[in-house]
Amino acid sequence: MTVNELCEKCGFSAVVLADGDREVAGCYIGDLLSWVMGRAKGDDAWITIMSNINIIAVASLADVSCIILSEGVTVDSDIIETAKQKEVNILSSSLPSYETAVRVSEQI
């Protein structure tokens, strides 16, 4: 399942799809950045409500397939620009983190 397909099948909104053909292999929920870097696996979809600029570096370095902002959280335009430059995918879900993860789980 690619990030493009996940976005469509789960009914999420695409915020940045800079590398939408990437495979999604799993899912991790977390808002503490070091915890995410310690526990998430490469190619996971990372569900978070954290929306500051540092999430882009964390997603890139931890090599997750995409960030999914849950609870309808939005990001500023400078973060969107940085995500495009760094080729980090960002999706958005209006659902809480748990329900967002359930939808991801139904697809992968």
Partner: protein
């Protein structure tokens, strides 16, 4: 490769939002060298945690990454306050970060443990009032 490649970075201690630039550049460089994705991920996370620590605690510092035939070494040196109790600092969950740092999602007390988790060797030399040098090795 017969000779080592060295990448040097000055880590800016002023700007929290740009923290991670050195790590992102290292990731790019390692990808160009054809290093495997899992090794790149280990080096990237370990270096980013160290970079963030230098920004949070030490007002910046210097980072060197040495790529040789059989290993990648990461050396992070700062002139910050030093670490008084290294064993305590290595415990998951222990942190001296401020509330403002925590509100950004850092300061969970996982930085040093993550650096150890993702590297094959890690040594910390720290003198209170003088600074800290951390050397990490990821074997290829």
């Amino acid at each position: 490769m017969s000779e080592s490649l060295i990448f040097h970075f000055d880590v800016d201690g002023e700007d929290f939002t740009s923290a991670g630039q050195a790590s992102v550049q290292v990731k790019k460089n390692l990808r160009r060298l054809g290093i495997s994705p899992e090794i790149i991920r280990q080096v990237s996370i370990a270096m980013y945690e160290g970079e963030i620590n230098m920004v949070i605690h030490a007002g910046g510092g210097e980072a060197d990454v040495v790529v040789s035939e059989d290993k990648i070494e990461i050396i992070l040196a700062d002139k910050g306050p030093g670490i008084a109790d290294i064993d305590l600092a290595m415990q998951e969950g222990f942190s001296t970060a401020t509330d403002s740092v925590r509100s950004l999602g850092f300061g969970a007390g996982m930085g040093l443990p993550n650096m150890k988790r993702y590297t094959d060797e890690m040594t910390i030399d720290s003198v209170v009032g003088e600074g800290t040098t951390i050397r990490m090795v990821v074997n290829l």
